[in-house]
Symmetry: C2
Subunit: 480 residues, 2 copies
Amino acid sequence: MSEDKLRVVAVGVEAFDQALRDTDTPFVRLDWKPPAAGDTDLVGALFNIDTACVDENGLSLVDKANKEVFDRILRGQPTLRRILPAHRCIEGMTRNTILHSGPPIKWEDMCGPMRGAFLGAIRYEGLAETDEEAAEMMSAGKIAYGPNHARSAIGPMTGMISYSMPVFVVENETFGNKAYCTINEGIGKVMRFGANGPEVIERLRWLEKSLAPALDEAVQAMGGVNLKNIIAQSLAMGDEMHQRNVAASLNFYKAVAGPLHDALRKREDGTRAAAFIASGNEQFFLNLAMASAKSILDPCRDVPYSTVITAMSRNGVNFGINVSGLGQRWFEAPCLKPEALYFPGFSEKDANPDMGDSAIVECIGIGGFAMGSAPAVVRFVGAGGLADAQRYTNSMGEITIGRNPALAMPNMDFAGVPTGIDIRKVVATGVLPVINTGVAHKEPGIGQVGAGIVNPPMAIMEEAVRAFARKYAGQCRGNI
Amino acid sequence: MSEDKLRVVAVGVEAFDQALRDTDTPFVRLDWKPPAAGDTDLVGALFNIDTACVDENGLSLVDKANKEVFDRILRGQPTLRRILPAHRCIEGMTRNTILHSGPPIKWEDMCGPMRGAFLGAIRYEGLAETDEEAAEMMSAGKIAYGPNHARSAIGPMTGMISYSMPVFVVENETFGNKAYCTINEGIGKVMRFGANGPEVIERLRWLEKSLAPALDEAVQAMGGVNLKNIIAQSLAMGDEMHQRNVAASLNFYKAVAGPLHDALRKREDGTRAAAFIASGNEQFFLNLAMASAKSILDPCRDVPYSTVITAMSRNGVNFGINVSGLGQRWFEAPCLKPEALYFPGFSEKDANPDMGDSAIVECIGIGGFAMGSAPAVVRFVGAGGLADAQRYTNSMGEITIGRNPALAMPNMDFAGVPTGIDIRKVVATGVLPVINTGVAHKEPGIGQVGAGIVNPPMAIMEEAVRAFARKYAGQCRGNI
């Protein structure tokens, strides 16, 4: 090749490429974007965080804090201890308390499925006979409601937890804290998707009266069930533990099979319970994965200088995140609609915006972050083929603190899942966390209509970075 | 680059490479081997098969026959129908009949673990009190023994099937034939690995008296269990169904959970049975996968002109294959020792050569052929990393008729498993079938000592090609 020809490395604005092509100038395009999409205010905030948050040796206090949080995530040891009625374990649950998913929201602002779930939960608790009565109680302020996250609890989709509902009690053995989540009801017409008909209420009562006491007996007989092992085993079996829990549900059944059989054989409806866990509900483990993640992340809250996300959660209207160094504050913006595949007879126009506390699993590196380990889920959520799945997982490596070697992905040559979302990296790279999610119908009473992929709105990441800079890096440059 | 320099493409003998390197001559080495490793006799046999076995239009009768066999494999629908004592379903089982794995072999020629298993099986049937008595019966010709394969049966490792042992009855719904296999005993000290102590005999009796009748009741209540679905689901969950049946065993449990619970709750030891299948034996499904493969392949036998392998099997001394167009004839040569990882305390010097009927699963494209779908097994059998696993699977594509779309591997972008081993392709490419296998201790009474990878000896492939050429292509060139 002659040496006198112009050779170009092109970065940034792509409009120049055509000019190079027109003049036959060879060029290489670098896949580079200016940090924070060229927003100088945000660049200033990121710069200030980097330069101001340092110790006497010039080492980053943020990196140090994030390393601490990352270590706490890796050290987490979620163990299922009991299955108990919510009022026996969750603080402050009165007969008329109902907890919901996502950041706080008022009754009048709630989306359709969330309203449907509230009305069903009120009837399930025997506080009202009809939806009309129940709605009146909500309007009249007779129900004390608030987010699960404020009570160490967590719930998928609408996330309902009421007084009598049985919840898994998951203890993080390393730190001694507990997290709570209801029992997964199955798919289709279920309360978490806003359905509230008689079969929904009947199933909830059966879970309360039959399955929960038997499972509690089995778990007590075993002295607890190590959930981290099940998560690790199931990653090797094609689950990402958000939209696919086929292996994890079976691995959980496997762990309790003997004692559960003992507990169930005395019961008239024992076979229904055995079949419900082993055969009837491929998402059974989702709620256990969520409680595991919540129990792992609660001890990661309130670490000064940490930019790691401790919760991502949606109430069907707003998407909210918490950031370790910024305490319990919710950074919120309207939820996006998932890019989804819809069940027959439904389409995007039926879809409610993104909802549920379940995105907690992505915060520990599973769910959408581990899609490369779960090629079968990629088609279920409409995300393409195996290469796409592995691209998703690899790109999550760009916005996280590190890899969790205890949660290895054999499909990706045993790489650990990308763990600990750093808001600095999200804003600097423009790569948003990817969440695998179910999609609820926007009207109350209907249920699930599809499954897909969704992101948090970038605005809340940017808002959190600005707030972080204000709190930790003093006055920031620019108009923030 | 100047145009006057010598440039070389090197194929064949590698000794010339150094000369090229010494003279700084740039060269590209092609990874090419002459077909049949340069053996002109074999090349002649392959050539004769290709040229002589054609119809009036010059189309290959072999390709046509192999396509027919391939279609039969794809159309196979293995369904578990019953669990019955061997004498109630396998033809000609008398009280003193014992079937074994592999091609036929005489008592005096058997390896240690096979002898240990025979002695245990004789005691289990109450035909003798001690190993000495049992050995005397064998020497005196008082036990009628022969290979499983001759009775539509199949067994892992030593492959023992005796009069009272319960067997799975698997029907190929498409063709109506049935195949039989014992219930997997678990791992470690078990009869299939040649162990025969009191705990081995006790477990076999318990399988016969308790687990088998209850499981039979459940399966009958269900009207049968579709095993092909379970194999397909489990491929998506990291199993290759030879050395890894973690998901398949759970998926089987899942399929029968409700009816099995009903059948077991009436029994004193029901919990032991529930736990044995769901928790106690991660290889439980192996025997069902084997019976499935046997039921699929038996209708593929005796198709004139077909060069597809209908069985690969080992008796611990010799490795034998059957070829469709060559009927029931065994092509045999001494077994190789597996390349294995050994359990703590054991090493290669403890290993018995390759053994068992289990390589039937590779004949339908699972086991070693599907390793690319089961990255976790690759480490268990000591075969390297994910890339190696996928290389194994891809190389099996070179020696098979086609891909089975019903057995898709999500980890390999949903490619079907490579199916239908063609002895022509094996000999022409030099690529041997790869088998994932357990390794038995060479002495009787000890059991499993490791797991690894093994090939059939090339000699039997070559012998089969020569025999095929003699039968179908008339006189072959060369000294054969």
